[in-house]
């Protein structure tokens, strides 16, 4: 996938770029509004990650520019302001998602993938991981063509794992993905453990290998490698 990152903080840009490249994406990055407009005019991207507050312009203008050219690219806004107005304006203009700084790379990754699924395949394509197959349009999960009944949170958890396969996902990252601000960090650790345990159990019951590995106290890895 071709992704353009527009962000004025160089170290954020570098981290995001290297993280996304590891997944095999082709990632370009710019740090200013004007360069971003140039890039948008010259190339087509599948997804753009746009910081609203740029030194020489407002990121929302880039979205307007993109919408003028009827692009099908997915747009994710990143902002240091957790402001409702910005969020609403951004989504009104046609952005697909909104992330508040600080965010996790795995969260950004999952959001990009979700946006791309919706944008490029209308959610019709299946997400396949080894023997697991997920249809995002009806949230159905099957293992070796046998349907697995998952709760909403378990489904989100599985999708998040698969979006970030082979990466360590700490409990706090998972908690934030599943509950956002509504759950405080400290409350959620053993709660997450229960969810993961249940998900594992349901998958193994259907004859699925145990993909979830615990990485010491740090978190979990979802991986086919044993």
């Amino acid at each position: 996938m071709k992704i353009l990152l527009i962000e004025d903080e160089p170290s954020l840009l570098a981290s995001m770029q290297s993280f996304l490249e590891q997944d095999g994406n082709i990632v370009s990055s710019v740090a200013t509004f004007h360069k971003a407009i140039e890039k948008v005019n010259d190339y087509d991207y599948d997804c753009l990650v746009i910081d609203i507050t740029l030194p020489d312009g407002n990121g929302l203008e880039i979205i307007r520019e993109l919408k003028k050219r009827n692009t099908s690219a997915g747009i994710i806004i990143v902002s240091a302001k957790n402001s409702l107005e910005d969020r609403l304006t951004g989504l009104d203009l046609g952005a697909d998602d909104y992330l508040t700084k600080p965010f996790h790379l795995s969260e950004l990754n999952a959001r990009i993938k979700s946006v791309l699924r919706r944008r490029l395949f209308d959610g019709k394509t299946k997400v396949v991981f080894d023997v697991i197959s997920i249809s995002p349009d009806n949230q159905q999960v099957s293992v070796k063509d046998e349907i697995v009944e998952l709760t909403g949170k378990e489904y989100e958890l599985l999708l998040f794992f698969i979006s970030n396969k082979n990466r360590i996902l700490s409990k706090s990252v998972i908690a934030e993905h599943l509950w956002g601000d509504s759950m405080d960090l400290a409350d959620s650790h053993d709660f997450i453990y229960t969810h993961i345990k249940n998900l594992r159990k349901k998958l193994i019951e259907k004859g699925c290998p145990d993909y979830v590995k615990t990485r010491y106290g740090a978190g979990y890895i979802f991986s086919e490698k044993l």
Partner: protein, 421 residues
């Protein structure tokens, strides 16, 4: 006590002794003058009597005058009494009781006899005049005082009108909703001075306030980016291959601490924003829908903790509030009820008649109740909490004028939070 009443009181207190003293002094002065005049009269009378006795000395047997004044008596020639004055009493035939009289006694030597002359002059009537005069003057004084007080009462309202106007303005003054000239110039010099000084003061305070507000906002926003950088760097580091377990744990701990900073920062920014009235759009939020939704969100988490949620929710309970803040208000209360619940506890969530009640079982507060809604007051068993949840609830309630109260039902070990609107 009102300034007016105080003035009246002081005026009365000061004038009462003056009135009493004045009346007594006046009385005494009139008394003295009367006596003096009477004495002069008696002395002249005595002179007349002396003259008459010398010119026409009465016979020994014809001493009695019709009113016995002067009273004449013959005394031996050897006794010579210089005229002297004295006070005495005498029965007044009209009023039939003793009245004060002034008496002059003295001997008059004539060639024939030596007479003792006694002259009397009742002066009680003069004393009565004196008393009446004094009382009259006293009454006039009191009348004047009353008139002054009355005038004071009438003028007071008019004079202090600008002052009351300034007070009314001060009462509604809000630092964040300030127009350019809040206090207008006044016609009375003193009030004008007050008004202009206040205007200067609020301008200075307003400027400070705006600077501080700007600082808080800028600081919070600027902090977000470095936090984001550290967070991403740590996450990248965590993904490196072959990290030893110990290092992973260090990264994990740093990440968690960082998330706490970020959460604190967000909460403080939220508090600042509420304080600064930056949540303007209030809409009629159906609290029953909101509460049901939030209960749903936390249902699984409560179950996980073995907590039973009981709910009694009346439909169509509307509250005029910013929807985002409404969610935080109810969410924080529910989170609290779950977090500080006892094992296998229970939560009672009641919403009816513009009132939200959330009850949960649990031990009594480890700190005084007054501190419950203060910032950074935490339960000692939960050091990981930010200590801002209830402070935010309080701030939101205050902003929208909701009545937020807390009670602990001791026999039931039950914490009760109530929000009324």
């Amino acid at each position: 006590m009102k300034l007016l009443l105080k003035t009246a009181l002081y005026l009365s207190l000061a004038s009462l002794p003056i009135a009493i003293f004045g009346v007594l002094m006046l009385n005494w002065f009139i008394h003295k003058s009367t006596l003096h005049e009477i004495d002069e009269l008696l002395i002249s009378h005595f002179k007349v009597v002396q003259k008459r006795l010398n010119e026409f000395p009465p016979s020994q047997f014809n001493l009695l005058t019709i009113d016995d004044n002067p009273h004449l008596a013959i005394i031996p020639a050897s006794i010579n009494i210089q005229p002297y004055l004295m006070d005495s009493t005498e029965i007044d035939l009209r009023e039939n009781h003793k009245t004060a009289i002034r008496v002059l006694k003295g001997s008059v030597v004539t060639p024939k006899h030596n007479f003792l002359v006694t002259l009397k002059q009742p002066y009680e009537e003069f004393e009565e005049i004196a008393a009446k005069l004094s009382v009259g003057v006293g009454l006039c004084f009191l009348g004047l005082l009353l008139l002054m007080l009355l005038l004071n009462f009438m003028v007071y309202r008019q004079l202090w009108k600008p002052f009351n106007g300034i007070i009314d303005k001060l009462r509604v003054y809000q630092i964040n909703k300030q127009s350019e000239t809040f206090f207008q110039p006044e016609a009375t010099e003193e009030f004008n001075l007050l008004s202009q000084t206040l205007q200067l003061m609020i301008e200075r305070i307003g400027k400070q306030f705006r600077l501080q507000k700007q600082f808080t906002e800028n600081a919070s926003h600027e902090i977000q980016t470095p936090i984001a950088v550290i967070s991403l760097e740590l996450e990248t580091l965590l993904q490196s291959d072959n990290l030893p377990e110990k290092e992973i744990l260090h990264i994990q701990k740093s990440t968690e601490a960082l998330q706490k900073i970020s959460q604190l920062n967000k909460s403080l920014l939220l508090l600042t924003k509420i304080e600064n009235n930056q949540f303007s759009e209030a809409v009629a939020v159906d609290m029953s829908v909101l509460v049901k939704g939030l209960l749903n969100t936390y249902q699984a988490f409560a179950e996980h903790r073995g907590i039973v949620i009981k709910k009694e929710i009346q439909d169509n309970q509307y509250l005029l509030i910013n929807p985002y803040l409404a969610e935080i208000l109810v969410g924080n209360l529910l989170k609290n009820a779950i977090r500080y619940n006892q094992k296998q506890g229970e939560i009672n969530c009641i919403l009816h008649q513009n009132q939200l009640i959330i009850k949960n079982k649990g031990e009594a507060l480890p700190f005084p109740v007054e501190q419950l809604f203060l910032r950074f007051v935490k339960h000692p068993n939960h050091p990981e909490a930010t200590g801002l949840g209830l402070a935010i609830v309080h701030q939101i309630a205050e902003y929208y004028g909701l009545k937020l109260s807390y009670q602990f039902n001791e026999p039931e070990n039950e914490h009760i939070f109530e929000v009324k609107w």
